[in-house]
Structures are given as structure tokens and as C-alpha cells.
Amino acid sequence: MSEIALQAVGLVRRIEGAVSHTLVNGIDLAVNKGEFVAITGPSGSGKSSLLYLLGLLDAPSDGEVIICGQPTSKLSEDDRANVRLTKCGFVFQFHFLLPEFTSLDNVLLPMRAAGLMSEKDMQERGLELLASLGLKDHANKRPNQLSGGQRQRVAIARALSNRPEIIVADEPTGALDTSSTEQVFGILREIADQGRTVVVVTHDPALAARADRRLHIVDGKIAQTFEGKGSAPEAAVAAATDH
């Protein structure tokens, strides 16, 4: 039996106000260690909201997120931050790198924040990560000196820096050209193949097709689940491309 890395139990996210919205409506989900899961769905279906809940960026109105066996609903904000720092790595649609810092400094940021390694070890790991993503010669460049694809690869290196169990990516290829998209796909797939859990929200049917499992979200609920790589049915592809 596979080890569960990430689990959602009865997950609900409601926005209270004059008009209440339910963004995520009772989702149950278990993602195994080393599994690559793609979340697809039309705009406003709640896929990004689900991802933020799974990555502890947002707190559920109801339900529970369990990360590596640790329930998180009763954790303090600081403890949730600590789980994010050590167990989750984030990649967003935009790179969100700190503009005044070099690629290497951006990659080192989570490691320095965690403070679990010596500066020398951190530097070595940072350079190693950048080299593994083809950015060896760009370590001392600032984000404005890099192309969109390079920036996103630096963001992936940053997400991997603390050796997190789970990588959550919110439309990581949304702002990239075709060749960069292909590169980023490959990297995420490789990360999953190396044993890390990857959860990606995407509109891209090609990326979704590379996932081990695809969840199609409609109105905050899982409408369909597709198992197995490269078997994206026409309906799922159509749904995934429905912007």
C-alpha cells in the first residue's frame, strides 16, 4: 500500500459576506508519495482555491488537510508557516522571485529561513539545484536579467531547496512560451519520478496528460477523476482548455 503524502478530508472553503461563495465544497482527496496529480477545471471552478488549501496557504472553513500524516487544522499560523517552509514547495504562475536578489539568493531564501544547514552547505545545494535545472551560469543574475522560462526554473529550484515532500504548482506554465513550457513540464515530471509528490493546477491538457492522475473540478467539487499517464480523454482535454 502506498504512503499518503497529502490528504484532504471534507475540505470546504467558504467566503462569507453579503453574498457567500463556496469555493471548495467538500473535497476528499488522498495523494500518494511520489504521485503527480493535475487539477483541471474551468475558470472559477475552485482549483486554485483547492491548491492553496492543500499547500496551507489558506485555511479551510471546514474539513482537514493532512500533510505527511500531520493534521493541520489546529495548527497556529506560525506552525502552518513552518510546515510550508519545510514540507511544501510552491511554484506560481508568475515566478515571484525577489527582484533585488540574484537567482542563487532567491534559491537560498527558504533554506536560510529554515536555518537547518550551514551557509556553505546551503550555497552548495543552491548551486547544485540551479545546475540541475540548467541555470549554472545564471546563479549571479537578477530576475530581470533572465528569460521567463529561466525565472520559472529558478522558482522551481527555490521550491525544491528545502527538500520538501510536496510541490504545489499553480499554473506554472501559464506565462511561458512553448519551449519553456515543455522544459518546466519535464522538470515537474522528473521531480515526481524522483519520489516527490507534485500537485499542479493547469489549464494545459498536455501537462495534465503527463500526470499520474487528473482531477477535474467543477463548482468546487471533484467532477471526474482520470487515472494513468497519457490517457486524457477528450472530455477532460476539452474541460481543461475551457478558459
Binding site: A81, C88, F96, L98, D105, L109, R112, A113, G115
Partner: protein, 413 residues
């Protein structure tokens, strides 16, 4: 959270906004510099004045009267009976057995004591002016006052050379148009008149002393008072003038005579200093607070510009307090560098002021403006400024770091 990281981010933020940072630092530097200058000027002039005051008068004066009237014989005999129309018995004025009192005080006093007779008189040299006539023993007086060093013409011992000689203040001499060696007439309270000569002229620097005090021998003052052998004041000079209040209490407890420290004698003046100090401190505090507004503006701007970075740092797992600390560190960096420049500006301003001389109408000389240099001014101004800067940064930093990362990430996507 590694503090090196926070310092690194803070340093990067302030060094990539050179102009804003310099404006903030200039604000802090000006506030600190002018505060140090004001403090140096105010305290310098105050200390200078107090030195003059302390030099010009005894540190403690034992007077012949008491703080409360001595119990009368009738009260002592019939304490339980209320009596009316019984006149108080007048004792002979002056301190009883002054030599014994002096000997007993001298046995423990950290300083010295000298006898004197204080009375009022009129000095006549064409015009008549009321003065305080102080009878002294020149040999003992030099141990308790700076009169010898304040002599501008003649010497304190010249009192012994002529009969009924007097030493008068320079301002009084100018008023009466008298010079050393001139004859004057002293008129006592009971109409006693003696012919006198001016043996010397002194200048203490205190207007009321230089205009209204005349020194003579004890015998002359006793004649003018009409009380032979009386000593009505013992004048004490202490090794440390700041001990005057404590010693005055001790002497009063020992002798029973009213003992007045220089602080008590000038309590009205010292209380006006307290008010002045309060006003000065308020103004300096306002200056430092105002200078911190520049820091507030800069940190507000940076936190607004950096909302996205704040959201990312939080999403990566940095705690809110750690992110807040970054911006407080930025204010501290601006503050510390500003303070160092402020210290230099403050010193330069103080030095410039000390080169300026102003004409003193009383002493008739050009005297430099007194500046008091002390590390305390620098440390206090720097400390308050740093506190204001970090305080000013705290509120915009707190507001900015409370942002929910999802709101910013969604907004940017």
C-alpha cells in the same frame, strides 16, 4: 528564523533605494544633530550660571534665626494653659557661642566654615544706595569664598589696612562713580554713620551681588548693626557643592540654627530651570519625533511597494513577525546611520557655537558661549531617535505583514 537573512533582505531594500534612504537618514541626522546642539547649549549656559552662582555665595549659610519660633518661657512653664497678651521675650540677635559652633561643625565638615555679620546699610558717595553689608574676617573668608579671586582692584587683605575699609562690587562702584581709595560714608539701620574708604573692587559675575553687596571687617559690620560682638551668619564652603542640601540638614539638626543651602537660597531660580528643562526636553523630543516621520514615510512606501514580496516570503514559510522585523530593521539601519551622521553634525554645531563670543555687559568682556559636552547627550539623542525610527516603522510594517498571501498572489495572477 536566521537573523542574517532578515538583515540581508533589509539591507538590500535600503541600499536599492538610495535617494529615499538618504532623505530618511538626513532627517534623522538633522534631528539628532540639532538636539545635541540644543542640549549642549542649554546645559552649558545652565552649568556656567550655576558655577557663577556657587562661586559667588557660600554653599551653606548658618543663620542666627530658626525655622520655627523658639518656645517662649511662658509656654514652657504653662504648656497646657492658653495665654493671650503675653509678649515674646526678645533674645539677643546672633548665633550663641559662634566659635564653639564653628569648632563642632568643623570637626566633621568636608570643607570649611567662617564667621560673618550680615546687615543692611546705605552707602553714600554723593548718591545713596542701599546695600547688604557683610562683615568678614579676611583670613577665614578666603577659605570659604572665591572673593579673593574675584578681586579686580585691591586685595581682600586690604580691608585690614585702613579703618572701616570696604570692598564693593564693580557694578556698584560704577553706579556710585567711586574708585579704589575713594572715601564713602556708611549709614547703619540705627542711624550710625562711619567714614569709610574703598579698599578694593570685586566682580562675581552675578548682578545682584555686584550691585548690592559690600564687604567690610566684622567689627565694622557690628558697629553698623549696633551689636558689638555679634556673629549672625556662619558661611560654609564644601568640597562638593552638590552635598550642600544634605549637609545643611545635618548642620541644622546639630545646631538648631536655620541652615540654608545654596540650592534652597536659589530655589526659585532652580525651579525656573526645571521648567526650562521641561520645555527644552519637549522641544527636543518633538524634533526627534518629527525627524522620524521621514522614516515612517519611507517604510510605508517600501512596505507598499513590497506587498508582493511580503506575500511570497509568507507563502514560502517565513513567519509574520520575521517579515515585520525586516522592515523594522530597515528603519533601524536608516536610524543608526542617520544617528552617526547626526552625532557628527551635533558636534560640529556645538563646536561652531563655542567659537562665538558675546559681550557680557556685567563683566565687560567678550565671553565664549558655554557648551556642555557629554556623551550622555549623544547617547540619549541617539537612543530616542532610534526608538522613534523603529516605532515609526512598526505600524506600517505590521499593517503590511498582516496581508494574506493568497490575496496578493491571486491579484498578481
Amino acid at each position: 528564523m536566521a537573523s542574517n537573512l532578515l538583515v540581508n533582505i533589509a539591507w538590500t531594500h535600503v541600499t536599492t533605494r538610495v535617494r529615499q534612504t538618504l532623505v530618511g537618514m538626513a532627517g534623522v541626522a538633522m534631528g539628532v544633530g540639532f538636539t545635541i546642539m540644543m542640549a549642549g547649549l542649554m546645559e552649558g549656559s545652565q552649568i556656567d550660571f550655576l558655577h557663577q552662582l556657587v562661586d559667588a555665595m557660600p554653599h551653606v549659610t548658618i543663620q542666627s534665626d530658626r525655622r520655627t519660633a523658639a518656645p517662649q518661657a511662658a509656654d514652657r512653664e504653662y504648656g497646657a494653659v492658653q495665654m493671650s497678651g503675653v509678649a515674646n521675650v526678645n533674645n539677643r540677635p546672633g548665633i550663641k557661642y559662634p566659635e564653639s559652633v564653628m569648632a563642632s561643625v568643623r570637626s566633621w565638615l568636608p570643607g570649611d566654615v567662617a564667621p560673618s555679620v550680615k546687615t543692611t546699610a546705605i552707602i553714600d558717595h554723593g548718591g545713596r544706595i542701599g546695600v547688604t553689608l557683610v562683615g568678614i574676617d579676611p583670613k577665614q573668608e578666603i577659605k570659604v569664598s572665591k572673593l579673593a579671586s574675584q578681586m579686580r582692584e585691591g586685595q581682600i587683605n586690604d580691608l585690614l589696612r585702613a579703618s572701616n575699609a570696604v570692598i564693593i562690587g564693580q557694578a556698584l562702584a560704577e553706579k556710585l562713580a567711586v574708585k579704589t581709595g575713594n572715601a564713602v560714608t556708611l549709614i547703619g539701620g540705627q542711624g550710625t554713620q562711619v567714614s569709610s574708604s574703598v579698599a578694593g573692587i570685586f566682580r562675581s559675575g552675578l548682578k545682584r551681588v555686584d550691585e548690592g553687596q559690600v564687604y567690610a571687617l566684622i567689627g565694622t559690620a557690628q558697629v553698623m548693626m549696633g551689636q558689638s560682638g555679634v556673629i549672625n551668619e556662619l558661611r560654609l564652603r564644601l568640597n562638593d557643592p552638590l552635598d550642600a542640601e544634605t549637609i545643611a540638614k545635618q548642620v541644622e539638626g546639630q545646631t538648631g540654627y536655620k541652615s540654608v543651602s545654596w540650592q534652597e537660597a536659589n530655589s526659585d531660580l532652580l525651579s525656573s530651570f526645571a521648567v526650562r528643562d521641561f520645555i527644552v526636553l519637549t522641544v527636543m523630543g518633538a524634533m526627534l519625533l518629527t525627524s522620524s516621520f521621514a522614516t515612517y514615510n519611507i517604510i510605508s512606501t517600501i512596505t507598499n511597494e513590497k506587498r508582493q514580496d511580503i506575500a511570497i516570503m509568507k507563502s514560502l514559510g517565513m513567519r509574520e513577525t520575521a517579515v515585520r522585523r525586516i522592515f523594522i530593521m530597515e528603519a533601524a539601519i536608516i536610524g543608526v546611520v542617520g544617528i552617526i551622521f547626526g552625532w557628527a553634525i551635533g558636534y560640529a554645531l556645538c563646536y561652531s557655537w563655542s567659537q562665538i563670543t558675546i559681550y557680557n555687559t556685567l563683566t565687560g568682556t567678550n565671553v565664549p558661549i558655554s557648551i556642555y559636552y557629554t556623551p550622555t547627550h549623544y547617547l540619549v539623542a541617539g537612543g530616542i531617535s532610534l526608538l522613534c525610527c523603529t516605532g515609526a516603522a512598526f505600524f506600517p510594517a505590521r499593517k503590511a505583514t498582516r496581508v494574506h498571501p493568497v490575496e496578493i498572489i491571486r491579484g498578481a495572477s
